[in-house]
Assembly symmetry: C2
Homo-oligomer: 130 residues x 2
DNA sequence: CCGCATCCCCAAAGATACTG
DNA sequence: CAGTATCTTTGGGGATGCGG
């Protein structure tokens, strides 16, 4: 993972790509962060904490994170049903990095927003509109 | 950004969400990382370093990063055309974090992959297949 | 009532071809 | 060389429904 060597591609030998790609998942980071903050969370609790994520997407995000071994899912055979989510050890180890990212965002957010705005106005807004 | 307070939602007051969402962009991190490693890169160089990204997607990723002020795009009025990409200062400030993420990935990748595999076999593969 | 699953839509990713 | 134009595919996201 140094420079371009051998094949000319950093990527193919780089399993990192897979993990990074996993966080291409729009809500993965935020989900991990929130579970990390809360310690133990239930599904609807999470859902309330992340209002702009539909339960369907939240569910699939959680499933992916569980599959990757980053979170633990504990189901209680009760009525009404109860499912708890918490970070695994490996998930915990990722938490500091996410926190740093969050801090970076807090620090640089304004600048990014401003720059984005300028960029919009300098270039044709019609082409760069969302 | 502590626990659930006031509104019950961490997010609405959390600009972090916006930045994170920006990196929901599948290739943003890797692109930043590679540009950071290389220092100054030209488009096709990047394209060669990231073979599984189409030029269309690469182009739009670069544009987004430029709009956010994370990379600088320098165009030379030459024939053949020449465009150079490099990190801005704010982009540089993000680089250490991405490197840490990369290291984390290198360390934990195998475990994640293994866990993912087990998860697949334990649950119905037909339902969890990509 | 909780934790999803199913249906459907749309934006973003991907492949391919083609220009200034 | 550095992209854009065009078309197809994938997956995020809302609405709704359903089993436990």
């Amino acid at each position: 993972m140094r420079k371009k060597e051998e094949t000319g591609s950093i990527i193919e030998m780089c399993p990192v790509r897979n993990v990074i790609a996993r966080f291409g998942n729009k809500w993965a980071f935020l989900t991990l962060l929130i579970i990390g903050e809360q310690g133990i969370v239930r599904f609807n609790e999470l859902s309330r904490l992340m209002p702009d994520v539909s339960s369907r997407v939240l569910s699939s995000t959680l499933r992916t994170l569980e599959a990757d071994g980053l979170i633990d899912r504990k189901v209680y055979a009760e009525v009404p049903p109860k499912v708890e989510y918490r970070l695994t050890e490996i998930g915990q180890s990722l938490l500091p990095l996410i926190r740093q990212l969050t801090e970076w965002a807090l620090t640089n957010m304004k600048h990014v927003m401003t720059h984005r705005q300028e960029y919009r106005t300098h270039n044709n807004p019609d082409k760069n509109r969302r």
